[in-house]
Amino acid sequence: MSAPTIAPGARASATFRILPPGMYAGRSHVVLERAFKVYRRGWMLIFSGFFEPLFYLFSLGTGLHNLVGTVTGPGGHELSYTAFIAPALLASSAMNGAIYDSTMNVFFKMKYGKLYDAMLATSLGPLDVAVGEIGWALIRGGLYSAGFMIVMVAMGITASWWAAAMLPAALLIAFAFGAVGMAVTTYMKTFQDLDMVQVAVLPMFLFSGTFYNLHVYPTWLRIVVQCLPLNHGIELLRALNAGVLDWSMLGHVAYFAVMAALGVAVTAKRLDKLLLR
């Protein structure tokens, strides 16, 4: 192209020949840059999100300590109740944060702010938007996770160096939930549809084994819960925190990798269909 106005996207998109034309301009970082600009003013809102899992940890860890006693954790180790719920709360908050960002926030930007219409009128592609938005949710989730882990270390409830791997694991969990959440959001029509997110997330939070081992359930319910993504996240982080590793953990990771890939693919396709028609 010899036009004096350079299309800066042209170069980048050349490196992404595998994708359908126009899906990706290689500039999702610009979408992130926007998020930083927005939240530079609203940092208190972000900061406040860090506390919710901590409140749960302090309240239930301290208060139920005597009522519950010790709990059998990974590898048959007896854990204090605080040590038992902490990694699970980390997984749950990774889920909650990612879902909130990718449903409520995305829905508003899409339907009311018309933000994505504006983005796609430029040379950005739908995949830039999807990756950028999910990336922002991840950065935010990563900050919360890191903060929570620091508290865990300070409380002395991390059992091994493997606990450090909880950070990337929590990010993977957030990525998977964020991608699927955003994909689901692209199907939503009215504000009331967001209620259905609550219907999916609340039982998952309450029943996936955050607060007790699944053996309290009848077998059929245990199997159902074991199929839910949050349970995989909880199992993964609990094992890492305890430093008790086995091959099933690869299964958990694979589960989230598939979720994330599906979520991103559906999101990009739906944005393309919804906004470019």
């Binding site: 208190m44 999100g49 506390f51 309240s59 208060g63 209620d195 309450l206 007790y212």
Partner: protein
């Protein structure tokens, strides 16, 4: 409104309530989620699931864990829903959809608009609490008839918190980010630290004092008292007086701020 020149009467309150009922009809699904689905999830997961663990560990509470936590869940749910219902709809009424300004152009006084809005919240909470009680009973979370008092107790507790929230909503001029803070730093911690899941004696000293300040702890003590007994008459009076104090102060400030906002 037919009697145009008639002096505003008590019945105008009900017109505000009617309006809310009309709006509410369209959001029945979200009401079901809040009123039935969420209580079910809590009762089953933490009441029965966590209860199994507690009961197996030589439960020292004197009653099954579900019987112990269910009245507290009921009260806490009432307070949380009331807080949300007092916060966002009132903010919307002033700012986003400006219904209150429309109402204020009729013979309604600001205080009546305020009272009507709160009355609507109270009605909803009462209904929610009845449903919650039925769910508790269905899963064996009730042991005696006195437990029905949980419904008025939860409603009072909820309103003791909703009235000040309504006042804040009438004062707040910005986009309502303050409410996010209210929920994250007041409502959620209150749920977690007001003796909902365990006796506050399990908390360290500072935690206990946080509970004593919060209206939710007082409501929870009353509700639990009605469900399992073991509560003295003086304690009942004290808790009631504290809740009424919150409600009355909140209501007075809310009426005043409604007046200020609507006369601008």
């Amino acid at each position: 409104m037919s009697a145009v020149a008639a002096p505003a009467s008590r019945s105008h309150l009900w017109q505000v309530v009617e309006y809310q009922l009309y709006v509410g009809r369209r959001i029945w699904r979200s009401m079901f989620i809040v009123g039935v689905f969420t209580p079910l999830a809590y009762v089953l997961s933490l009441g029965i699931g966590l209860g199994t663990v507690v009961n197996n560990h030589g439960n020292s509470l004197g009653v099954p864990y579900l019987v112990y936590v269910a009245p507290a869940f009921l009260t806490a749910a009432a307070l949380q829903i009331a807080a949300a219902d007092a916060a966002y709809p009132i903010m919307a009424g002033f700012k986003w959809i400006r219904t209150f300004h429309g109402m204020a152009a009729t013979p309604l006084t600001p205080a009546q608009i305020c009272d009507g809005q709160l009355m609507w919240v109270a009605l909803r909470i009462f209904a929610n609490s009845v449903v919650y009680l039925a769910i508790m009973a269905a899963f064996g979370g009730t042991e005696r008839w006195w437990v029905v008092l949980c419904v008025p107790i939860a409603t009072l507790t909820a309103m003791a918190f909703a009235a000040p929230v309504a006042a804040i909503a009438a004062i707040m001029e910005n986009e309502g980010n303050g409410f996010n803070m209210l929920f994250r730093f007041i409502v959620t911690p209150m749920f977690l630290f007001s003796g909902t899941f365990y006796p506050v004696s399990e908390l360290p000293e500072w935690g206990r004092w946080l509970a004593y300040i919060s209206p939710l702890w007082h409501g929870t003590e009353l509700a639990r008292g009605s469900a399992i007994g073991h509560i003295g008459g003086l304690a009942v009076l004290g808790h009631l007086a504290y809740l009424l104090l919150w409600f009355v102060v909140g209501l007075v400030v809310a009426r005043w701020r409604f007046g200020v906002r609507l006369s601008k």
